[in-house]
């Protein structure tokens, strides 16, 4: 790790002011990507602005129509929330399967989304449920948020404040984890929402994406069998020592089928 200056603002306004005047600074949320990167000397920020102490970013609100999660909320809090489990069980399930106990105790939803790791869990839920990402500047629709590998619609210095998930009629999430890292190799988040069927695939491509063909088939009939014969193209999918693009393409069908079954279809 190289030396850096450490700041711990108490308010969002302070954090914004700091990030505005420190072009080589980095925001620190749960630190689950940034700290290992620093330890390996793969990044050299001049300053770390720890947003973990900002009360405005914490907390969960659940209404009949939406689950709203503050950007600084830990995965573990989402996983354990009785209200989330009741409103969107698939979201609580997803949070309960992120990393391990230690990761869930520190990692935050805002940090996960801002990083847009292709193998992260939360992007699946955000895209699958058609969530709205609130930032210090604006609101961003899920469909406009993920731009590529480690790329989002966020501007420099723009901070995620909360994420609003509409409560679906039903939803399911299944993932096949990388055996070594336990990150997502292929995940599928399937939801029947007010706006129709949504199927979001994470882990398989450069960032989370929707699978239109499956959405169409499930709209006709919300049943695992509807997905059975569908095959996603391998082109453009990730390929590494753990899984080829072809295998990932196959897993997209399997995970989607199982997610539908989990959602009761």
């Amino acid at each position: 790790m190289y030396a850096f200056n450490y700041h711990k603002p108490k308010t969002l306004a302070e954090a914004q002011a700091l990030i505005g005047k420190l072009p080589e600074g980095k925001l620190l949320a749960g630190g689950h990507t940034l700290i290992p990167t620093l330890k390996q000397r793969l990044a050299q920020p001049s300053d770390l602005i720890d947003i973990g102490g900002i009360a405005e970013l914490k907390g969960l609100t659940v209404t009949a129509s939406a689950v709203t999660i503050g950007a600084g909320t830990r995965h573990d809090e989402v996983a354990r929330s009785a209200e989330v489990k009741k409103a969107i069980p698939a979201l609580a399930l997803l949070a309960s399967g992120i990393g391990d106990r230690q990761v869930r105790a520190r990692g935050t939803i805002g940090g996960s989304l801002a990083n847009s790791d292709p193998a992260a869990d939360y992007p699946g839920a955000v895209l699958g449920l058609g969530a709205t990402v609130h930032t210090t500047k604006r609101t961003i629709k899920a469909d406009d948020f993920f731009k590529g590998m480690f790329e989002t619609a966020l501007d420099e210095g723009e901070i995620i404040t909360k994420v609003e998930f509409p409560v679906p009629k039903r939803a399911g999430y299944m993932k096949f984890a990388n055996p070594a890292s336990r990150y997502v190799m292929v995940g599928s988040f399937v939801a029947e929402t007010a706006g129709g069927i949504r199927v979001a695939i994470n882990g398989a491509g450069p960032c989370a994406f929707r699978w239109a063909e499956a959405e169409k088939a499930l709209a006709a009939k919300f049943a695992a069998a509807s997905v059975e014969g569908l095959k996603h193209k391998a082109d453009g999918l990730n390929s590494d020592i753990h899984a080829s693009a072809e295998y990932r393409a196959h897993l997209i069908t399997v995970m989607t089928k199982r997610a539908v079954a989990q959602a009761g279809g």
Binding site: M1, R41, F176, P179, A243, Y247, V254
Partner: protein, 790 residues
């Protein structure tokens, strides 16, 4: 009544309290006054010429005490690292052991090769300075694959090893084997890759070098499995200095699995650098360095064939193996794919003719050496995959074909066609016990139940043989070993009856402080809490050979028994004098010396006290109660047993669940059943890791290590493993005083074959390790296609 503590009792491990409460003293817990820190600049290239190294900017970096390159060590005439076992090839020439400099001179041959050593006030400062060293590399083409490195046109690693060949060696009777194949009713052929593994001890390697000007003595604190051997290598081969001027301390060591047997560059460099900077110098490996520099294991490519008669009786076995040595020969690397491999190819069977040839090769990868099992897992894997495949092809039951070929219990000692003579064994006994425990008869129903859920179920066997406690020294010497493989013990009674046992064995997780104390307590009649086991310090312990190859109890324990016997003999003389009887009339039993046929007796404590306060004492007897024992076994020991694995495969994803595991091992006499069970658990976990999850992968073009962290190198987790059913049968070793055979490696030897046999049984397709989800899914697809075609 107190719980039993003698031989055969499951005594709780004495060492665990300090380990689990964080009170252990590992090498990294040792900090010497004035200590400085070492950081190694390592090669980013798999193969490159070093055109120049510019340290000028780095030298003035804050905190720097010294920056050293290969040239500095050469100027001080520091020798290179050695290989301590010379294997002689088919053509009668010794293997090629090219120079292995502690720090690279003009060429780097693998990613992670040492290029420069920086010593600074802090670790971070040393690393900062290393980043300012400017090395001008001329990158060269690299080769990482053991088969590819033999091809013409492959990049050449060493001028001393043309064609990248270390040795071309064979063993067994080629003519007899070929003759048997020519008349065989059936021949079974199999190509196998034994995947390269990273040992991943929980504690990374650490070294501290310290020089004491007053006594002109160097001390090396190191995470070593064999401190005396490390001292011997450093003094005799690397520094050329007398051994009494070097002390090696290996305190609590957190796992070794073979990787801490070897003499590594970093410990040599720290010992050398301490005099250069006039300060103790400490190096602590991080996990990435561990992946890059700890000697790897396995990495074989093998073609194997088994000849059978029409009834399934084995006639001959032959195999041809290419073994990857990595970029340099590590300390005992050459012996692993030769003598520790081919000599075990008879397995548990009466196969009359066996022939093996092995080409050991250099590649631009981390050196490969002994890893838990070392050669024996590779042999078991070849034999047991072949046997299982033979059963499938001959449509025989895998149990039946094995039983038909087992060496029967009345055939021992049994001379195999590959030099070794098995001392004892009851192979069908272990097999039958395992069949009962796994409920073999119920398998068909379990398979049907799995299929009803859309899963594939398979069962696999491994009837393994192991050779532990490599010996005797005269034989290993004739095979090319540069060391003797005996063990030492010194037992010192203190005047009031407590005991200090100094052993040449080294514990790095095995529980010697408990097991050895049980032996001494049992033999000498001393309460177990009055027995202290001392190991891991050349200044305290007599010259010993350390721990590897499951040798500690069979060899080190036997040395302890030797010393106990000498003390008992001396004790009889003292007792006879005290009891005014003839020595011949003294009977000894568990701490009591008694005049035969009387109730007159003295106990061990009285005898011991008399030896130190010899007021009433035999005139011709030396005072004191302390004896040394050295033990050189007359043969290896041959643990054996049967492991049975049952798996359930999800054909949709290729995920394998290990559903059942039964291990029935014959380790001879067992001193502490709980510790033995723990050793089996750990060994099986590593074997399951090899079969399902672990593999070191290098990029074929660049030679970069792609599995350099836990993000990509997949160690087994608890959820990957089943609940084991572990049992033992007991066929005592006839040639050591405890009747013990060794248990540390058995699990890692048996497990890969058992598990792969189960997976291939489920799939109906032969695949290589590791059975990753994608590989299994593809095989499951092949199965579906084939079934459709049928």
């Amino acid at each position: 009544m107190n719980a039993p503590t003698g031989i055969g009792a499951s005594v709780r491990r004495k060492e665990d309290y300090r380990f689990i409460t964080g009170q252990g003293t590992y090498t990294d817990d040792i900090n010497r006054p004035g200590q400085a820190y070492a950081y190694f600049l390592r090669s980013p290239h798999a193969h490159a010429k070093i055109k120049s190294i510019d340290i000028s900017a780095a030298k003035s970096s804050p905190g720097v005490l010294g920056i050293f390159t290969g040239a500095d060590l050469a100027a001080d005439k520091v020798g290179g690292l050695i290989c301590g076992w010379t294997v002689t090839g088919k053509d009668g020439t010794p293997h090629k052991a090219p120079p292995h400099p502690v720090i690279a001179l003009d060429t780097v041959r693998c990613v992670g090769d040492q290029v420069a050593l920086v010593v600074a006030e802090t670790r971070e400062q040393a690393r900062d300075a290393a980043e300012k060293i400017n090395v001008d590399y001329q990158a060269l083409p690299a080769v990482v694959d053991p088969a590819a490195t033999l091809k013409s046109g492959a990049p050449q690693l060493h001028a001393e090893a043309p064609g990248n060949l270390c040795y071309d060696w064979d063993f067994g009777d080629k003519a007899a084997t070929e003759a048997a194949f020519s008349k065989a009713a059936h021949t079974v052929k199999l190509d196998l890759v034994n995947n390269r593994l990273s040992p991943n001890a929980m504690e990374p390697r650490v070294a501290i070098g310290e020089y004491d000007r007053a006594t002109d003595t160097l001390t090396c604190y190191s995470t070593s499995q064999n401190p005396h051997v490390l001292r011997l290598i450093m003094c005799a081969f690397i520094f050329g200095m007398p051994e009494h001027k070097m002390r090696v301390v290996a305190p609590d060591v957190g796992g070794g699995f073979g990787s801490k047997i070897f003499c590594y560059a970093e410990e040599v460099a720290c010992v050398w650098a301490t005099r250069k900077v006039g300060r103790p110098v400490k190096w602590t490996s991080d996990r990435t360095e561990a992946f890059l520099t700890d000697a790897h294991g396995r990495d074989h490519v093998t073609h194997a064939e088994l000849a059978l008669d029409k009834d399934g009786k084995f006639l001959a076995l032959k195999c041809s193996t290419i073994a990857n040595m990595g970029a340099y020969l590590s300390t005992f690397a050459s012996s692993v794919p030769s003598y520790l491999y081919a000599l075990l190819l008879a397995g548990q069977y009466t196969t009359p003719a066996i022939y093996a040839e092995v080409k050991a090769v250099f590649t631009n990868t981390t050196p490969v050496d002994a890893y838990r099992g070392a050669g024996r897992p590779e042999a078991t894997y070849v034999v047991e995959r072949l046997v299982e495949l033979a059963a499938r092809q001959l449509k025989m039951d895998p149990v039946e074909i094995r039983k038909k070929n087992f060496i029967p219990p009345n055939a021992f000692p049994y001379q195999t066609p590959v030099a070794v003579a098995y001392d004892s064994g009851q192979y069908a006994l272990s097999m039958d016990e395992a069949l009962k425990l796994v409920d073999y008869k119920g398998f068909a129903a379990r398979r049907a139940a799995s299929e009803a859920k859309g899963k594939l179920r398979g069962i696999g066997f491994a009837a393994y043989i192991e050779a532990c406690g490599i010996a005797p020294s005269s034989v290993v010497g004739s095979l090319g070993a540069g060391v003797g493989l005996w063990e030492s013990a010194s037992i010192r009674f203190n005047p009031t009856g407590s005991v200090s046992v100094f052993t040449g064995s080294h514990s790095h997780g095995q529980g010697h402080e408990t097991t050895f104390a049980q032996v001494v307590s049992d033999k000498m009649g001393v309460p177990i809490d009055q027995v202290e086991i001392v190991h891991g310090d050349t200044q305290r312990v007599p010259m010993g050979m350390g721990t590897y190859g499951s040798r500690s109890l069979a060899v080190g324990g036997s040395a302890i028994v030797r010393a106990c016997d000498k003390l008992i003999a001396k004790g009889k003389k003292i007792a006879a004098h005290l009891l005014e009887a003839a020595v011949e009339d003294i009977e000894y039993d568990k701490g009591t010396f008694k005049v035969a046929g009387t109730d007159k007796s003295v106990n061990m404590q009285q005898v011991c006290f008399t030896a130190y306060v010899p007021h009433k004492y035999p005139a011709d007897l030396e005072p004191g109660f302390e004896e040394n024992g050295f033990y050189d076994p007359s043969n290896f020991t041959y643990p054996a047993g049967t492991h049975i694995a049952e798996v359930e495969v999800d054909p949709g994803t290729g995920h394998v669940t290990v559903a059942k595991w039964v291990a029935v091992d014959d380790f001879g006499k067992v001193v502490n059943p709980m510790i033995v069970e723990g050793q089996v658990h750990g060994g099986v976990a590593q074997g399951v890791g090899q079969a399902l999850l672990e593999q070191v992968i290098y990029d074929k073009q660049s030679g970069q290590l792609l599995t350099g962290s836990m993000m990509d190198y997949c160690l087994p987790r608890a959820e990957d493993l089943p609940s084991y059913t572990v049992a033992t049968t007991e066929t005592p070793c006839p040639h050591n005083p405890l009747g013990v055979k060794g248990c540390g490696e058995a699990g890692a030897i048996a497990a890969p074959a058992a598990l792969m046999n189960a997976i291939t049984d489920a799939l109906g397709v032969e695949i290589d390790m590791p059975a990753t989800p994608e590989k299994v899914w593809r095989a499951a697809q092949t199965r579906v296609t084939r079934q459709a075609a049928e």
